[in-house]
C-alpha cells in the first residue's frame, strides 16, 4: 500500500458562523489487526492507528483512542461548531510510530 497516511478532510460548502458542521475525514491505512496470517501461514504484524487528535485553532476539540476493530482506510464524521476562522488539524498516530496530519481552513461567513 503505497499511500499509507494519505488524508482527505471534507467540509461542507458555505459555512455560516456559529453553525454546527459535519467534518468528514478519511485516512488510507491498512489497520492490520495482528490476528491475520498471510498465505504462507505467517502472522501479519499488527499495524493500526491508535491515537487521533483534532485541533481547531489552538483548541484540542477531540481526542480518540482507536483499536484494531476499526476498518482499513478509516472514515469518520464528527461535528464542530464553526465559531471562528481557524485551521482544523487532524493528527493520526499508529502503533509503529507513524504520524500523519492534515489541515483545512474553516472560514465561516
Amino acid at each position: 500500500m503505497a499511500e499509507v497516511g494519505k488524508i482527505r478532510i471534507k467540509l461542507p460548502q458555505g459555512i455560516k458562523k456559529g453553525e454546527v458542521i459535519p467534518v468528514k475525514a478519511l485516512i488510507t491505512h491498512p489497520m492490520e489487526t495482528g490476528l491475520r496470517k498471510d498465505k504462507a501461514g505467517k502472522p501479519i504484524p499488527a499495524y493500526y492507528i491508535n491515537d487521533v487528535k483534532v485541533y481547531y485553532g489552538n483548541d484540542l476539540v477531540s481526542s480518540m483512542e482507536w483499536t484494531i476493530a476499526i476498518s482499513a482506510d478509516p472514515f469518520m464524521t464528527f461535528y464542530v461548531k464553526a465559531d471562528k476562522a481557524a485551521p482544523l488539524k487532524i493528527v493520526y498516530k499508529d502503533n509503529k510510530g507513524g504520524t500523519f496530519e492534515d489541515t483545512v481552513q474553516i472560514n465561516p461567513q
Binding site: 471534507k10 459535519p22 468528514k24 478519511l26 476498518s71 482499513a72 482506510d73 472514515f75 464524521t77
Partner: protein, 277 residues
C-alpha cells in the same frame, strides 16, 4: 476440511427445506422455470425491516467513505491523459454536464460490439478510442471512481433500461444465467434472491433482486472499500456458490447478467454511492 464441511452443514441448515424441495436440473437447456417468492411482499418488507431497521440509512446520513472516491472520480474526469491530450471533460463538459442522465440507460445494447455495453466498458472505450489512453483494469479504484462520478450525474433519475429489439436476446441470456445452476452447491441466483428472499442466510436477510442494481458502486463494510456490482456478484455470490473458476469482470455472461439485473430495477432512482454491510 472439517471446518469446511461444518460450514456447509450450517449453510444447509440455514436455508432449511431449500434443498429438499428443489431437484437439481440443468437449466441451460430448455425453458426457464421462473420462481416466485416463497413469502408475500408484505411479509418480506416486515422481515427486512425487522432485521435491518434503518441501520444503513442512519449510517449513510453520517457519511459514506465512498464520497471521497467520488471526489477522486471527478478529479480523474477532469485530468488529461493519453496521447491525444484530452480529458473526459474535454468532450463531456467540465463537470460532466453532457452525461447527466446517461447512466440511467446502462447497461445497454451496443451495435458496435453486438452485445451489452456496461458503463465501465464504455469508459474504457472512450479512454482507448477518444483519448489514446490505456484502458483501466476493471474494478480498480480509478475506474470505479470515474464510474461513480458518471453515475452520480444521474442520481435521483429513474433507471430506464430497454430490452426491446436487438437487446432482447441478451436480456434472455442474462436471465438464463440467473437461473443457471453453478458450483458445488448447484444453486442459482434465483433460488436465493427470488424464491427464498426474506429468509435468512449468511447472517443476512436474502434480498429480492428489485433493488440489486440501483446503488452501485457501493461501499461495502465487508470489503472495507468501494466496488462494482460485478465484484459483488463474482467475488461474493458466485464464489460462495463454490464455483472453481470465477468468471472474468465484464465477460459476456456477466455483462448479460448485469443487464438482466438492472432491468429489474427499472423505474427506481439511481442512488450512488451505495452503502452496504
Amino acid at each position: 476440511m472439517i471446518k469446511r464441511a461444518l460450514g456447509g452443514l450450517i449453510a444447509l441448515l440455514l436455508i432449511a427445506g431449500a434443498i429438499s424441495v428443489i431437484t437439481p436440473q440443468n437449466s441451460i437447456a430448455g425453458e426457464i422455470q421462473e420462481y416466485t417468492p416463497n413469502i408475500s411482499a408484505e411479509e418480506y418488507e416486515k422481515r427486512y425491516n425487522e432485521f435491518y431497521g434503518d441501520a444503513t440509512k442512519k449510517m449513510a446520513e453520517e457519511g459514506n467513505p465512498a464520497e471521497m472516491l467520488l471526489d477522486d472520480g471527478k478529479a480523474l474526469f477532469q485530468k488529461v491523459d493519453g496521447s491525444k491530450g484530452k480529458s473526459c471533460a474535454s468532450c463531456h463538459g467540465q463537470n460532466g454536464e453532457k452525461l447527466k442522465g446517461a447512466a440511467t440507460t446502462y447497461p445497454k445494447y451496443n451495435a458496435g460490439i453486438k452485445g451489452i455495453i456496461t458503463l465501465p466498458v464504455q469508459i474504457n472505450r472512450c479512454r482507448e478510442n477518444q483519448m489514446g489512453a490505456k484502458p483501466w483494469k476493471y474494478d480498480t479504484p480509478d475506474i470505479v471512481a470515474v464510474e461513480l462520478f458518471v453515475k452520480s450525474l444521474s442520481n435521483g433519475m429513474p433507471i430506464k433500461i430497454s430490452i426491446d429489439g436487438p437487446a432482447k436476446p441478451f436480456y434472455e441470456a442474462g436471465k438464463k444465467m440467473y437461473y443457471t445452476r453453478l458450483g458445488q452447491w448447484n444453486w442459482n441466483c434465483a433460488i436465493c434472491h427470488i424464491k427464498y428472499s426474506g429468509h435468512k442466510t449468511r447472517a443476512n436477510i436474502l434480498s429480492t433482486n428489485r433493488h440489486h442494481a440501483d446503488h452501485w458502486p457501493t461501499y461495502r463494510m465487508a470489503w472495507q472499500s468501494t466496488g462494482t456490482i460485478q465484484r459483488r456478484i463474482i467475488n461474493d455470490c458466485i464464489k460462495n456458490m463454490r464455483v472453481d473458476k470465477l468468471p472474468e469482470y465484464e465477460s459476456e455472461d456477466i455483462r448479460n447478467l448485469e443487464f438482466y439485473l438492472t432491468y429489474q430495477a427499472n423505474g427506481l432512482p439511481i442512488q450512488v454511492p451505495g452503502l452496504r454491510f
